[in-house]
């Protein structure tokens, strides 16, 4: 039980900390985050239907490039969902600056709850100790950073009109890279055969870099408008 508590802190703690530490809490953006979470749920459902419709069921864990490509394409539905959350949802007038953070946070939190809570509850509560759930918690951290940077890049692409021309290709490249991250990790996991600790390490590293890059891009775009 103690171990479950620890892993839950690692998995969900950063979301709460992020919310309370940044100005998000002051502007009460919880509603936005909740709405985003609902959008995430719908997106996940659509994705599931697509996966079930278009993908062959493979009996083995062998990495199949064509199937993986299809999976990556379906993964882009995520981007569509995020686009919807960023542009179509009506928010109480909070600045774009906070909007993308709220959206990214809601997105990452919904992802964590959906993908990690059940295994955590089932697995980490027992007596058996494994490092898996600690790693999974770290993965949730990386995922939070990735969602935030994707939301930041998305808001740059779709919401901000007067961006410096030179940065546009970089923004698009970064957004593309971030959006394909799930496919890349899945390739490393099953195609190259990395172990879980290595994959998580890679995820943490890339998400940290991407977060820094998108932060820089965001502040770079902020300047001319300010």
């Amino acid at each position: 039980m103690f171990h479950f508590f620890n892993c839950a802190i690692l998995t969900f703690g950063p979301h709460a900390v992020y919310y309370s530490a940044t100005p998000l809490s002051e502007y009460d953006t919880l509603g936005t985050s909740v709405k985003t979470a609902v959008v995430y749920l719908v997106t996940a459902l659509v994705k599931l239907v697509c996966l079930a419709t278009f993908l062959k069921v493979s009996e083995s864990d062998i990495f199949d490039p064509s199937q993986e490509l299809l999976k990556a394409l379906i993964g882009f539905i995520d981007v569509a969902g995020l686009y919807f959350a960023l542009t179509q949802l009506t928010h109480r007038n909070i600045s774009q600056n906070h909007k993308f953070q709220a959206v990214g946070l809601g997105w990452a939190f919904a992802d964590s709850v959906l993908h990690r809570l059940a295994p955590l509850w089932v697995g980490a509560r027992g007596l058996e100790f494994t490092w898996d759930y600690v790693l999974q918690g770290l993965e949730a951290n990386a995922n939070l950073m990735l969602s935030l940077s994707l939301a930041a890049l998305g808001s740059l692409m779709w919401l901000r009109k007067n961006k410096p021309k030179t940065l546009i290709p970089i923004i698009y490249a970064c957004a593309g890279f971030v959006a394909t991250m799930p496919s890349i990790t899945s390739y490393l996991r099953w195609g190259v055969g990395w172990r879980l600790p290595e994959v998580v390490g890679f995820q943490l590293f890339t998400s940290l870099t991407m977060a820094l890059v998108s932060w820089q891009l965001f502040s770079a775009c902020q300047k001319p408008s300010a």
């Binding site: 171990h3 620890n6 950063p14 900390v17 940044t22 697995g123 058996e128 100790f129």
Partner: protein, 567 residues
């Protein structure tokens, strides 16, 4: 900046939302918590040491539930192992450990004994003439006797070595060697067997099976035909009821009886070769408990029937005798019937190149111990003898088909030879051909002893644990025996009886061992510390990067001011 008023209403709304939401969440969590999931890294079938009382005196393992860390080294003198499960493989078991923890009863959290795969009843490998295994068999037999006859306050379980367990054992041994025995503070492997306290079995039953091959009466002969009884006890007793298959004791006797019934049913089906003797076949239960079943079976006979029995031959542990068989009798060898049985057997034995010895052991009526099945007959003044591979009378609960008595150690050829010996001498007696060199059950004839029949029944018996109190009245095995006997002989019926009240047995003979690899409490605390500091760092970093250092500092002064604001 948002309007403070709207922020306040939003806050209030959130509180309302929270207060209705939390009970629901709590309810869901409680519901989920009720579903217990088994997620151990290794799950093993284990067999508990038998627990029984003789006249109220407790024997065997007196506990069944296990929940302790595992250890494997006991070198440190004076170490407290009352909260440790000792995991030991049979090969590593040493005399000191047995003396201290089994004979002297030093406290232990539990004991898990790993047996080599050869002792598995469904094991496919057949290694017989290996001196290593013979030694191990002897060691296991000795251990079994000591376990059965001592009172052990902690749970004792048997399991079979396999890859998973070998890995666990190696890990435990490595940790113990490194001086880090598993405890709550250091972590390690935890062994758990969930089980309720063992309960007494209410009136355990035993079932005797009997069948007849009626002889041919001469016309106008009103006298009852004499009867020859062939008897074997089929049940077993051993350290672990789930593992006591008793291939030799007394699987070999049961197989021999079935084969003799088959051979004579062929002879008796033809009126020309039907003998002038009735043949009575009896598969008796309760053998380990002073042949309690045999006693009850004989008591149920009426006087006329009992008097019509010329003699009874009991078959017991036929494959044990590497150098011949022994005929155990309780009447003096000068007795006419005894003489006749012995001479009949030894004549045939000579032709088969076998040796049969005669052993006379007087019955002590005041002693309740009955070492041989024929003694129950003798007590009721029916002439009887036991043909056995054992040369000396076994003690109580000795040679009753325990863990070590497996198919791999059974000499099938010896059983075939014994069957031929008994059948041939019986047939010569029935048809009055004594002393003549004829071969009724000659090899390659239609009446030849069938090694494949013997082999297949021996296989079945060696897969079926047969400890009488744990066999129900209509157990599949008893039904199979009944059906098989009914195929050869007539008037097959079952007789149910209650085992002698002197013996009491307890349930939970098998269990499931769950092995968890657990982290220590210290580790969990350390992880919590690391995580806490990580979150605090993250919090400070985010506050500084988004609002500046001053905000972070002012955050710690804020609570009173916020309260003032709310008021």
């Amino acid at each position: 900046m948002a309007d403070p008023n709207t922020a306040a209403t939003a806050n209030r709304r959130r509180h309302v939302f929270d207060s209705s939401f939390y009970p629901v969440v709590a309810l869901v969590f409680i519901l989920i918590a009720c579903v217990e999931l088994c997620d151990a890294s290794t799950v093993v079938d284990v067999y508990r040491l038998i627990q029984y009382d003789i006249s109220g005196a407790p024997f065997g393992s007196r506990a069944s539930s296990l929940n302790h860390h595992a250890g494997s080294s006991f070198s440190a003198p004076g170490s407290d192992l009352s909260r440790t499960v000792a995991i030991l493989s049979l090969r590593e078991l040493n005399e000191t450990f047995i003396r201290e923890y089994i004979d002297q009863g030093k406290p232990l959290g539990g004991l898990l004994l790993l047996l080599p795969q050869v002792f598995r009843s469904d094991n496919s490998q057949t290694v017989v003439d290996d001196s290593e295994y013979t030694d191990m068999k002897k060691q296991l037999t000795d251990l079994e006797q000591r376990l059965i006859h001592s009172t052990i306050q902690y749970p004792v379980y048997f399991a079979f070595e396999d890859e998973d367990l070998a890995k666990v054992l190696a890990d435990i041994q490595r940790n113990d060697a490194a001086g880090q025995p598993a405890t709550a503070t250091t972590g390690g492997y935890k062994f758990i067997v969930t089980s309720t306290a063992p309960k007494k079995l209410a009136s355990p039953t035993m079932t005797n099976i009997q069948g007849w091959l009626p002889g041919l009466k001469a016309d106008g002969d009103s006298n009852q035909l004499p009867t020859i009884a062939i008897v074997a006890s089929y049940d077993t007793f051993g350290a672990a009821p789930g593992l006591s298959v008793g291939s030799d004791s007394n699987g070999s006797g049961v197989v021999a009886l079935l084969e003799i019934a088959r051979l004579f049913s062929v002879l008796y089906s033809n009126p020309n070769t039907r003998g002038r003797y009735n043949l009575l076949f009896g598969l008796t239960s309760g053998g380990p408990y002073n042949y309690n079943g045999t006693q009850k079976w004989l008591r149920s006979f009426d006087q006329r029937l009992r008097e019509s029995i010329d003699y009874a031959i009991c078959l017991n542990s036929l494959s044990s005798g590497d150098n011949g068989l022994w005929l155990h009798v309780s009447k003096p060898p000068e007795n006419a019937y005894v003489k006749q049985i012995f001479e009949g057997l030894s004549n045939v034995a000579e032709e088969l190149g076998l040796k049969v010895g005669l052993k006379h052991k007087k019955i002590n009526v005041s002693n309740s111990r009955v070492a041989w099945e024929h003694e129950q007959f003798s007590r009721l003044r029916v002439t009887a003898a036991t043909l056995s591979g054992l040369s000396v009378a076994p003690n109580l609960l000795e040679n009753t088909g325990g863990i070590a008595d497996k198919r791999e150690f059974v000499n099938e050829a010896a059983i075939v030879r014994s069957v031929k010996l008994v059948a041939e001498s019986l047939a010569r007696h029935i048809y009055g051909q004594e002393g003549k060199n004829i071969n009724i059950f000659a090899d390659n004839s239609s009446l030849a002893v069938s090694p494949s029949y013997i082999g297949s029944w021996l296989d079945l018996l060696s897969r079926t644990p047969r400890v009488a109190p744990f066999l129900s009245k209509d157990d599949a095995f008893i039904m199979a025996l009944k059906k098989e006997l009914a195929d050869h002989v007539v008037e097959v019926n079952l007789q149910h009886d209650v085992i002698d009240g002197m013996f009491t047995f307890y349930d939970s003979t098998v269990g499931t061992l769950q092995i968890y690899q657990v982290a220590s409490v210290t580790f969990d605390l350390l992880l919590l510390l690391v995580l806490g500091s990580y979150l605090i760092t993250l919090f400070s970093f985010l506050v500084i990067s988004t609002r500046g250092v001053d905000d972070l500092i002012s955050l710690f002064r804020r609570p009173p001011s916020r309260k003032a604001k709310a008021a």
